[in-house]
């Protein structure tokens, strides 16, 4: 199978583009999937879904649910309710996966916050099962532990999936978040059959910033091909999302960005 048939363009790679622009550009060049973000869908998920389908595209995943680690019961309830809405939206869009970013500790101890994440997931899991949407738990790089995600390694994410023990729970492997881990290849193998997403970008040297530091594939040090082969060998043959947060790319994002992505994807992933 041609690897380009697995290419998914994550909307945040060209943040200035509207959903409409993203879909038209991807359709024109023949990129078959997009990775969608809730805040970029507009008010009407059904309408967005129809527009995407009309252009011959599919959604690889919807980003994001999670953020469960709230410090108060009331706030936790709100988060759970919001995750139920996100699951519904994913179902409406035909997105097979809702990407879960667990959230930071928010003043709790890490242990408590991590327990809260598991509780939240257990609470919304039946909704995901009913809706036919898989919760894709994405470990984030440990440099985001304090601000975005207390789930920071693939081992930890897979441990959570083991505890959830449901076909509606899996892990999302993002190369930028996991490449540094001495156990990453062992853990990818262990996650066999439970990998529900694979995201690529690159880690430039030096890293220009914590949030916006990601680079185009080939412009950094991540062993993307080795990781992709490992993910393939673990049985994942679904879409591969290009998700690059980089303000320079945003500034100059035009159709040529998609041509560059296709080239770099084939060369490096």
């Amino acid at each position: 199978m041609n690897l380009l048939q697995r290419l998914s363009f994550n909307q945040m790679t060209a943040d200035p583009w509207s959903l409409d622009q993203t879909v038209r550009n991807c359709s024109r060049i023949g990129i078959p999937f997009i990775g969608a973000w809730r805040h970029k869908l507009g008010a009407d998920a059904t309408k967005a879904s129809a527009m995407i389908r009309d252009q011959g595209l599919r959604i690889s995943s919807l980003c994001r649910g999670g953020w469960f680690s709230a410090p108060t019961i009331e706030e936790r309830r709100k988060r759970v309710a919001d995750n139920r809405v996100a699951i519904e939206e994913a179902a409406l869009l035909g997105a097979p996966v809702l990407v879960i970013v667990s959230g930071p500790a928010n003043g709790q101890t890490l242990d408590d916050a991590r327990a809260t994440v598991l509780d939240g997931l257990l609470e919304v899991l039946p909704d995901a099962e009913k809706a036919g949407v898989v919760l894709g738990i994405e470990p984030l790089h440990p440099m985001y532990a304090a601000e975005r995600s207390v789930v920071v390694t693939l081992k930890q994410a897979t441990d959570i999936v083991d505890q959830l023990s449901s076909l509606a729970a899996g892990v999302v492997v993002d190369a930028f978040h996991v490449w540094w881990d001495p156990e990453v290849f062992r853990q990818i193998e262990r996650a066999s059959g439970r990998i529900v997403g694979f995201h690529v970008s690159d880690w430039p040297v030096p890293l220009p910033g914590i949030l916006m530091g990601r680079a185009m594939m080939g412009d950094g040090v991540i062993e993307l091909r080795n990781l992709r082969r490992a993910v393939d060998a673990a049985g994942y043959n679904g879409p591969i999302e290009v998700e690059i947060f980089n303000e320079e790319i945003w500034k100059s994002a035009d159709y040529g960005l998609l041509e560059l992505i296709e080239r770099r994807f084939v060369e490096n992933v």
Copy 2:
């Protein structure tokens, strides 16, 4: 034992101070140890050592050796030779520990670079044994994997120490580097008897930068007391180094900095 008797002031916490200033200030306030850096010692380690002793201080560790992961054989030989010099310097200074920062991948695969680190350590280990200096392998936060250290978790560092199997090899636990790890408490317990250093600072939210982002103890989210207790329970009762890289602190570093450190150390560590 009064915790302040274990306090060590790492020189880099007040980079603008000369060694002489650092030693005099620490001596005046009664801080018993300093953590020394090779580039701040001056040409004559023996003289520096005498000056430190004359002021009644001891050195907790010398920073740093390592940086083994060079891409060429010639460069690797140079690194090994430099580590031998560092071991000699540590012995001259009466520093019980030489802190080892392994170095980045430098164009190699992570696997190859990690093998190179182990090779380098094996090569200089007999020198360390002869000199009575312990190589303290310090895992760095994974955000430094590309630029500073392919050794990124306490598990990985302890695995290396297991392979070296010598009293002249141990691990250095730096709270800033390991706090995020879901396995950190388990790995500290496992490293029992092989912990040869404990460093503290804090992780502020948001983190202002990758290299200079560390904060004073109490100004961040690291569970310092829990980590200190775990390290104590694992049998480590040596010096605890305050090592903060923060340009704001550098700019305003005066004697009051040491008073603040003592207070925050007692309150948070």
